[in-house]
């Protein structure tokens, strides 16, 4: 929940009124297509653009500073552009989902299948940290098993469009897909384990006693234009909020890129150092950063020889386990249950880190 969801309910697409006729649909589609073409043209010109910028500055391209500046000038526009595209697409996709629909899909599902479905819906359902408590109570009071609810709550913040978009932009689609798969894996398995432990009695008492039937919301008719608008609103909300973190992150990344010697990082965060994975996870838990700030640093660390598993474990730990989220969840969970939550998810992340380092020798 620490990613992009600081203020309230920003990620939610607006609900939309039924329309009788929509004469501007064609205009909207044409404008969207034109914007995508422009995007592609601009993206293809990024390398000449960054070379030109560096050439304008009185810096030797081959120096440390030149290396850092050129990294910064190329990566900043590239990352912002790719992120905008991914966030727009996710905003569009999410207009098909809502927490209420997700709850209806999960109701009556058993553990196992329920955990898998719940984790996947966690990625697709619009969600924000301020909605975490209503969502949690809404799920549990509707009879969705605790472990299935947790699968959702773990996946939703960890596997988000900012993390995936940035990994894709900076480290490549293979790592982004791997992150997606392992993030889902951790959410499914950790939720399942929490369900197996039968900890319902560790919920706050008023939550345990609450039973509510789902509200019968009037059906929404959402047009194509509304979905495009939802995508644009997501871009406005999310990119508008994280761009400053991305630039800060890329600046740190550029510094690492230009100045930190590879051998140093390879020694501390390389595959040889087994203790670096648990250290990375422990370090990440109290850290509260959004994916936007951490991933450019992640990329620079990888380029300098840090092991992929160690870096991914660090990233998951920073994003998925955060203090503000724990404080919000404390309203419905006992301290013991929060401790179990951190323990189970932390163990899952640890396993991912070790597995990765073993796989990618």
């Amino acid at each position: 929940m620490s990613t992009t969801t600081v203020s309230c309910c920003k990620g939610n697409p607006p609900p939309v009124a039924p329309r009788t006729s929509e004469p501007s649909t064609v205009k909207w589609l044409a404008a969207t297509a034109a914007a995508l073409v422009l995007w592609g043209l601009a993206y293809s010109q990024l390398i000449p653009f960054s070379d030109w910028i560096v050439a304008q500055l009185p810096i030797d391209r081959a120096s440390h500073l030149g290396d850092a500046v050129s990294f910064f000038a190329y990566d900043t526009p590239k990352v912002l552009m790719l992120l905008t595209l991914v966030v727009f697409a996710m905003g569009l996709v999410r207009s098909f989902f809502s927490p209420e629909k997700t709850r209806a899909m999960l109701a009556g599902k058993h553990e196992g299948v329920g955990n898998v479905l719940s984790a996947m819906l966690g990625i697709l359902t619009p969600f924000c940290s301020c909605s975490a408590v209503p969502l949690f109570i809404g799920f549990v009071s509707a009879g969705i098993p605790l472990g299935v609810t947790f699968s959702f709550l773990i996946a939703a913040p960890m596997v988000n469009e900012v993390a995936l978009g940035l990994l894709f932009a900076l480290v490549g689609w293979k790592v982004a897909l791997t992150y997606l798969a392992f993030g889902l894996g951790v959410a499914i398995v950790a939720g399942w384990v929490i369900g197996r432990l039968h900890l319902e009695h560790w919920l706050e008492e008023w939550v345990r006693n609450l039973r509510a039937s789902a509200a019968d919301l009037p059906p929404e008719q959402i047009t194509v234009v509304d979905r495009i608008k939802a995508g644009l609103e997501a871009v406005n909300d999310i990119v508008g909020k994280v761009w400053i973190w991305i630039i800060a992150g890329i600046a740190v990344g550029a510094f690492i890129h230009g100045y930190v010697p590879s051998s140093l990082l390879a020694e501390i965060m390389g595959r040889g150092a087994w203790w670096s994975v648990p250290a990375a996870v422990l370090l990440g838990i109290p850290m509260y950063s959004n994916a936007a700030g951490i991933i450019p640093v992640v990329q620079a660390l990888l380029a300098k020889g840090a092991a992929l598993g160690t870096v991914l474990a660090f990233m998951m730990s920073v994003i998925a386990l955060s203090l503000p989220e724990m404080i919000i969840l404390r309203k419905v969970l006992s301290v013991k249950l929060i401790a179990v939550f951190i323990g189970v998810v932390g163990t899952g992340i640890l396993a991912v880190g070790f597995l990765f380092n073993a796989l990618y020798q």
């Binding site: 309230c8 309910c9 609900p15 009124a17 927490p99 969502l135 019968d216």
Partner: protein, 78 residues
């Protein structure tokens, strides 16, 4: 007099939603009594899973995110 409840823990969007309901009601000339429900148990009791939610005369009409002004007007006019 329409009885409107805005469900939400007091986040920015919940406040904005309550303001929007009031301004749309003023525009339509519909008298409303707006109440903000911030208690999580009470919110959950209405059967929604995302906030802000809007309840008009006991019926849930909206859940999750800022509603559109024209939708609010439609609900108030109904």
């Amino acid at each position: 007099m329409k009885d409107v409840k805005v469900l939400g823990p007091g986040c920015k969007r919940c406040v904005a939603t309550a303001e929007m309901v009031q301004s749309q009601a003023d525009k339509l000339g519909v008298p409303v009594a707006i109440e903000k429900v911030t208690d999580y148990a009470a919110i959950a009791g209405y059967g929604i899973a995302s906030t802000p939610g809007i309840v008009i005369d006991g019926k849930v009409v909206h859940a999750g995110g800022l509603p559109k002004p024209e939708d609010v007007a439609r609900w108030l006019a109904a």
